[in-house]
Amino acid sequence: MRETSLSLPAINDEAMIATEPEIPQAIDVLCSDSIATPGEILGDSSQFIAGKGSYLAPNGRNIHASITGHRRVLPPPADSTEKRSTVEVVGHKSRGAVPEPGVVVIARVTRVMARMVSADIMCVESKAVKEKFTGIIRQQDVRATEIDKVDMYQSFQPGDVVKAVVLSLGDARAYYLSTAKNELGVVSAQSMAGATMVPISWTEMQCPSTGQIEKRKVAKVLQTFFHFRI
């Protein structure tokens, strides 16, 4: 018997079972690399996980975009049993940086007290923040050795630019920072005469115009030239 190209499926059990539509409204689903706006359907939850810039609808089936940007599909992580790819939306506006535990930040010292130092966090890794955050360096976090014999006034002065690592989110008022490593500590400071000081050891900095030596907890910076404009 000759089979025509337009043959209707034979009415048997198999045809009746396979009635579920596979593709949701084709006009709503976006293909890769197209621009998504909030609310648009990016994919189905059986095939994708919702990544950044997207969320799972309350009914649990569709994944919608939450910001405007390009749709991108990431392959599933190699080390987990998850088989689904991640779909995310890459927005064009970058958000201000926010300190996270474990990242290196640059902060400027505002207040020096007997047991701790207050500093304003200005940069997170290499990104400047949009609004400044407050950080605290406690006496026990200034250095790794002899932590009970630390003199805060001989480690930091107000106005010093300090490289520190974020220990934790801290309390409601400030992040907890630490300079207890060789490469952390004062990066740039001004002497009492007003000139930018040169580091001469890990505890001392010298003013180039007067020759006066002041005590600081100095960071061991590997680059040969490090210039900060205060």
Binding site: E40, I41, A57, T68, H92, K93
Partner: protein, 242 residues
């Protein structure tokens, strides 16, 4: 006064009963704000500026598990026909601010930004009816421009009932006629209504028609807003050099 010409069926400004005024939207108009937009519906022109998410200024209002959304609506002195000094705290402005705040809060994914604050400032530059709707549309554009995550675009349109006909997108003259004015705000892709307001009275079967007409208007505005956002995204990509 005949709001619909009995012979031609046109309204006072030459539109058909189910025709919306010309809309125009533009993002990125306020350089300092995180997100901003201008939205025009006919002669009604509104500017929206969004700041956030940023640290809560008044710590007593801070919410631990979600963002605080604040909204301020104000009309410029020169926005209406006669230059009237409008006090910022007057009842109508306060009510509209509250209404718009609730509408936008329903759409923003506030649980992603705990202990932060999102400010929406709306300024009416020209008022010719439908300022509430224009403000919501402008706020949606501004929030999308700021990159604040939202469930869906919130769009709003008004509809009324004059001379036994449902009319879409009333202007000031039609609004002052004393007939009912239904303002609807919807999440179009989710097919959900977030704002429904009406003044004056309307029989319930007419109300269904008028509300449906307003929802159709919302869908049309949503399509336009999506186009504006896509164009803006493409333009930014070109400028970035991708």
């Amino acid at each position: 006064m005949e709001y619909i010409n009995p012979l031609t069926g046109f309204r006072l400004d030459g539109r058909r009963p189910n025709e919306m005024r010309q809309i125009r939207g533009e993002v990125g108009v306020v350089a300092r704000a995180d997100g901003s937009a201008v939205f025009e519906m006919g002669n009604t022109k509104v500017i929206a500026a969004v700041y956030g998410p940023r640290e809560v200024q008044n710590k007593s209002q801070q919410i631990d598990n979600q963002a605080l959304v604040r909204c301020e609506y104000s009309m410029s002195n020169f926005s209406t026909g006669n230059r009237a000094r409008k006090y910022k705290g007057d009842r109508r402005s306060t009510e509209i601010s509250l209404v718009i705040r609730q509408t936008m809060e329903a759409a923003i994914l506030t649980h992603l930004m705990p202990r932060s604050q999102i400010d929406i400032f709306l300024q009416v530059l020209q008022a010719d009816g439908g300022t509430r709707s224009a403000c919501i549309n402008a706020a949606t554009l501004a929030l999308a421009d700021a990159g604040i995550p939202m469930r869906d675009l919130v769009t709003s349109c008004s509809a009324g009932y004059l001379c036994s006909t449902p009319l879409l997108d009333l202007n000031y003259v039609e609004d002052s006629a004393g007939g009912p004015d239904v303002t609807v705000g919807t999440l179009v892709k989710m097919d959900k209504v977030t704002l429904l307001q009406m003044d004056a009275k309307l029989p319930i079967d007419m109300f269904a028609d008028v509300m449906q007409l307003a929802i159709e208007g919302c869908k049309a505005i949503a399509n336009y807003i999506r186009e504006v956002l896509s164009e803006n995204s493409k333009k930014l990509e070109c400028m970035k050099g991708n």
